[in-house]
Amino acid sequence: MNGGGLGYGRRKLTGHVMMAGSLVAACIAVALLFWIIGYVFIKGIHGINLDFFTELPTPVGVEGGGLANAIVGSIIVVGMAALMAVPVGVAAAVYLSEYGRGLFASSVRFVADVLAGVPAIVAGIVAYALVVSRMGRFSAFSGSVALAILMLPIIIRSSEEIFKTVPNTLREASLALGIPRWRTVIKVVLRTASGGLVTGIMLAVARVGGEAAPLLFTAFSNSFWSLRPDQPMATLPVQLFNYAISPYDDWHEKAWAAALVLIFMVLMLNIAAKMYAHRRPGR
C-alpha cells in the first residue's frame, strides 16, 4: 500500500471510486423520493375530482363515488387522538424541561424514547385490548386511543427539545421581575416556544395521519356516513389499504388518489414545519 507511486495511484483510485459511490447512494435516495412521489402524482391525479371529496364510496362496478366519509373520518379520529395526546404531551414536556431532574425525569425520558419506537400495530393491539374488547365493538374512539399512544412520545420529545431552545435569560428576566415560576412557564416559555410546539404537533399529526396499521382493528371501516365516536368509522389510510388489495381496477384508481391526498398532506406538513424551523433562529 505505502511506498511506490503505483500504490498511491491505487489508493487514489479506490478513494475516487468510494467517494463516487457515496454520491451515487445520495442520488439513489433522491431519485427514489421523486420516483415514488411522481408516480403517485401521475396515477392519483385522475382520481382527484370534486366527487372524491364529497361523495360516499360506491359498490364495486358502480362508477363515481368518493371517499368523503373516510376523509372526514380521518380528521375526526386524528383530531380526537391529538386532543388526548397534545395536552398531556406538552405538559409532560414542560415538567421535563422546567423541573425535570433526577431519576424520575430520566426514566420518563427513557420510556418516552422507547415508546416512540413501539410498532404502530402494537399500539393498535393495546387499544383493542383496552377499548374494543371492553366495549364489544370496533369504534372510532378506540382508533383515536391507538393513534394517541403513538403521538404521545413524539410530542413529548419534540416539545422538550423546543422548550430547551428558549433562552434561560428570558426565564431569569421574568423571575427577576417577581413573576412566579408557573406563570413564567405559561407566559414566557410556552409563548416563546409556541411556534415550535405547533411545528412538532404538525409533524406528529403527519406521522400518525398516514397510519393504517393501528386502525385496522380499532376504528375498522365503514361504507356509510358515521360521525359517532362509538361506532366503526372509515379512515383514509384503511380505505386506501382495502382498495389497494382488492382486485378491481376502479378501486385501485381510488387507492392511488387516496395515496396522493395522503402524500400531499404529509409533504405540506413537513415542508411547513421545515420552513418554520428555518425562520425561527432569525427572529
Binding site: 447512494a25 415538567y95 427513557f110 419506537g117 410498532p119 400495530i121 393491539i125 393495546v126 382493528f217 375498522f220
Partner: protein, 313 residues
C-alpha cells in the same frame, strides 16, 4: 398574618403546577405499564395453552387451532436483516456524501429530501411496491438473479411478491433513519481529526474509512439498531408485498409472512378467543423485540453523546 396567607397561596399554585405537570409526565410511565400489562394479560390464555412450544412450532392453521410462531419470527427477522444489508451501505454512503463530499449549500436540501423518505406513509410504499416494484422484480431483476440458482437465495419461481420485494421496500423505509443518525454522529467528529488524517497523506476516502467511521462507530451502530427495530415492526408496506404465506424459506423469491403482517391480516377477523390471544402473544413478541432494540440503540446514542460532546445530561 395576611402576608403569610398570601405567600402560602402562591406556594400552592406553584406546587400544584409542578405536581400537575409531574403527574402528566408520570402518565408516560403509566402508559408503558398499561401496554405491558394488556399485552401480557391478553396473551395469557395462549401462553397457558401452548407455552414456549408456540415459538418453535411451525404450523399455522387457525381453523384447526394449530398455532406456530416460527414462520412469522423467521419472516420478520429474515426480511429485516436483508433490508439492513441493503440499507446500510446506502445509508453510510449518503451520510458520507452529506458530511464529507457535498458542498455546504447542497447538504441541507439533500438531507431534507432523504428525511422526506421517512415521512412518506407506509401505505404509499406498499402501494408503490405492489404495483411498481413487484412487477419490475418479477420481470427483470428476479429472472436475472435466477441464473444463480445454485445459491439457496435464488431458487424457485420469480413471483415478484415475496421476501425480496418486501426487503427492498423496508430498506428504503429505514434508509433515512440510519443515514440521518450516521450523519449526525459524523458531524461530531472533530475537524482536527480529519485534518490530521489528511496531513498524514491520507486520501479523502481513507480519512472516512480510517478516521471518521471508526470515530463514530458506536453512534452508527445505534442508528443501525434503531433502523433494524423499525424494520421489524414495519407493517402495511410489508403486508402488501410479502405474499403472506407462513413458511420458512431461504429463497428471496418465495412469499413469506411477518409478525406485523399476520396481525394486520388476521386480527380484525379473529373471532375465536384462542386465535385472538395467540395474535396478541405475537404482538407481545414483536413489542419485546422492538423495546430491546430501541433501548440498546438509545443507550449507545446516549453514551456516544456523553463522550462525544462532553455535555450529555
Amino acid at each position: 398574618m395576611a402576608g403569610s396567607i398570601k405567600r402560602s397561596g402562591k406556594f400552592d399554585i406553584e406546587r400544584a403546577f409542578r405536581g400537575g405537570t409531574a403527574a402528566l409526565a408520570l402518565s408516560v410511565l403509566v402508559l408503558g405499564a398499561i401496554i405491558v400489562y394488556e399485552l401480557f394479560s391478553s396473551s395469557g390464555p395462549a401462553f397457558d395453552r401452548f407455552g414456549f412450544g408456540f415459538i418453535t412450532s411451525r404450523d399455522w392453521d387457525p381453523v384447526s387451532e394449530l398455532y406456530g410462531a416460527l414462520p412469522f419470527i423467521w419472516g420478520t427477522f429474515y426480511t429485516s436483516i436483508l433490508a439492513l444489508v441493503i440499507a446500510l451501505p446506502l445509508s453510510l454512503g449518503i451520510a458520507v456524501f452529506l458530511t464529507e463530499l457535498a458542498p455546504v449549500w447542497l447538504r441541507g436540501p439533500i438531507g431534507f429530501m432523504v428525511e422526506l423518505l421517512a415521512a412518506i406513509p407506509s401505505l404509499v410504499y406498499g402501494l408503490w411496491g405492489l404495483f411498481v416494484l413487484a412487477p419490475i422484480m418479477q420481470e427483470h431483476i428476479q429472472p436475472f438473479l435466477a441464473q444463480y440458482d445454485y445459491l439457496p437465495f435464488f431458487k424457485g419461481y420469480p413471483l415478484g411478491l415475496g421476501i425480496m420485494t418486501a426487503s427492498v421496500i423496508v430498506a428504503i423505509m429505514i434508509l433515512p433513519t440510519i443515514s440521518s443518525i450516521s450523519r449526525e454522529v459524523m458531524y461530531t467528529v472533530p475537524e482536527t481529526q480529519r485534518e490530521g488524517g489528511l496531513a498524514l497523506g491520507m486520501t479523502r476516502w481513507e480519512v472516512v474509512s480510517k478516521v471518521v467511521i471508526p470515530y463514530s462507530r458506536s453512534g452508527i451502530l445505534g442508528g443501525v439498531i434503531l433502523g433494524f427495530g423499525r424494520a421489524l415492526g414495519e407493517t402495511m408496506a410489508v403486508t402488501m408485498v410479502i405474499g403472506n404465506t407462513p413458511q420458512i424459506t431461504m429463497s428471496l423469491f418465495d412469499p413469506g409472512y411477518t409478525i406485523a403482517s399476520v396481525l394486520a391480516n388476521e386480527f380484525a377477523e379473529a373471532t375465536e378467543k384462542v386465535h385472538l390471544s395467540v395474535l396478541v402473544e405475537l404482538g407481545l413478541i414483536l413489542f419485546v423485540i422492538s423495546i430491546l432494540m430501541n433501548s440498546a440503540a438509545k443507550l449507545l446514542l446516549w453514551r456516544m453523546n456523553r463522550y462525544g460532546s462532553g455535555s450529555g445530561s
